[in-house]
């Protein structure tokens, strides 16, 4: 019959088309490369940093806008977060290394969903004499889109967001990225 003949003609064509689509999908999956960069994407990169107006653990006022002229590193931290605790020695090394550079970066810990006494106890035990700033209601975390700690952000001397590192730092990463950024955007 005519319809059977037509079906016999259409079936191989349909099967070929489906096969080609499947092969294309497979090729996309096989050829996809993971992002080699340690840096996380954010719509804030290259944009002016969100306003950060808060207080430090010493009850001194802190306004990010007043830190222009310096490279600023914001490390979102919680004393009960294991990756935060693990990366802490790397932050100590970074701050130490920065002292020997032109225009050393300023480090700030942004306290995320934690209480003052726990943070003070952690830093008393593990060192780190930089400023710790409060984010009691999560305003700063939301402004930067931080859902999980740790996260580390770098703001350039003009107040623009230049880098976001989501998750635990790897050894030397922050020093390396800061050097690149200083060359790229001027120290």
């Amino acid at each position: 019959m005519l319809s059977e003949k037509k079906a016999k003609r259409v079936a191989p064509i349909a099967a070929t088309v489906v096969g080609i689509v499947l092969v294309c999908l497979l090729w996309v999956l096989v050829s996809a490369k993971p992002n080699p960069s340690d840096n996380a994407d954010s719509p804030l990169l290259g944009q002016p940093a969100p306003a950060v107006v808060t207080t430090t653990l010493e009850d001194k006022p802190f306004d990010l806008a007043r830190r222009k002229g310096s490279w600023v590193v914001l490390n979102f931290f919680n004393s009960t977060c294991v990756p935060c605790r693990i990366e802490h020695p790397l932050l100590l090394t970074f701050v130490q290394n920065q002292l020997s550079t032109d225009n050393p970066a300023e480090m700030y810990t942004v306290i995320n969903d934690d209480n003052d006494s726990a943070v003070l106890a952690f830093f008393a035990e593990n060192k780190g004499d930089w400023q710790k700033i409060r984010d009691n209601d999560g305003t700063i975390a939301v402004a930067f889109g931080v859902a999980k700690v740790p996260e580390t952000w770098i703001i350039d001397p003009n107040g623009y967001v230049r880098l976001r590192i989501a998750g635990q730092l790897s050894e030397g990463l922050l020093d390396e990225q800061m050097s690149i950024l200083k060359v790229q955007f001027g120290s």
Binding site: S3, P43, L44, G138, V142, G145
Partner: protein
């Protein structure tokens, strides 16, 4: 009477329910946002710290009265990405989520329609010569059997 009653019901169902309180707005916005650290929970129901921080930010923005609901959601989306939206946007690449199922439905219905039409045209009730010959042969053999008995 039935038409009037239906019209009134539709009107009553669709009309604006009046001004909303700030809490109504906060609830409505947070119901449209996904908790960024949970699976399948809205910011409205989640007790995760990230969700609580977003709720506080939404409350602050609603309280300030400077942003509409959509603008507040856009602010959160700009920070956390489009995965924070429980309902995908209806513009850009996200609109495919809405368009593709509808397109698939229309294509499926069209394909079924074409197939049904073909089947009906092919089976127009006319008896083919081949079938007639088979029936005639069967009838003839039945008649022979009947006459013999």
């Amino acid at each position: 009477m039935a038409a009037i009653a239906s019209a009134l019901l539709i009107f009553g169902g669709l009309r604006d329910s009046g001004p909303r309180s700030q809490q109504d707005r906060i609830d409505a916005i947070t119901m449209r946002l996904a908790c960024p650290t949970c699976q399948g929970e809205s910011v409205y129901v989640s007790r995760a710290s990230a969700a609580e921080a977003i709720r506080a930010e939404v409350a602050r923005q609603v309280g300030s009265g400077l942003r509409t609901d959509d603008e507040t959601i856009a602010y959160i989306e700009q920070r956390f990405g489009s995965q924070v939206l429980l309902l995908p946007r209806s513009s850009g690449i996200d609109s495919l989520v809405w368009a593709l199922p509808i397109a698939a439905l229309i294509c499926g219905a069209a394909a079924l329609g074409v197939a049904f039409r073909k089947w009906r045209t092919a089976d127009d009730g006319a008896v083919s010569a081949e079938d007639s010959a088979l029936v005639n042969a069967a009838m003839a053999s039945k008649n022979v059997t009947d006459s013999n008995s």
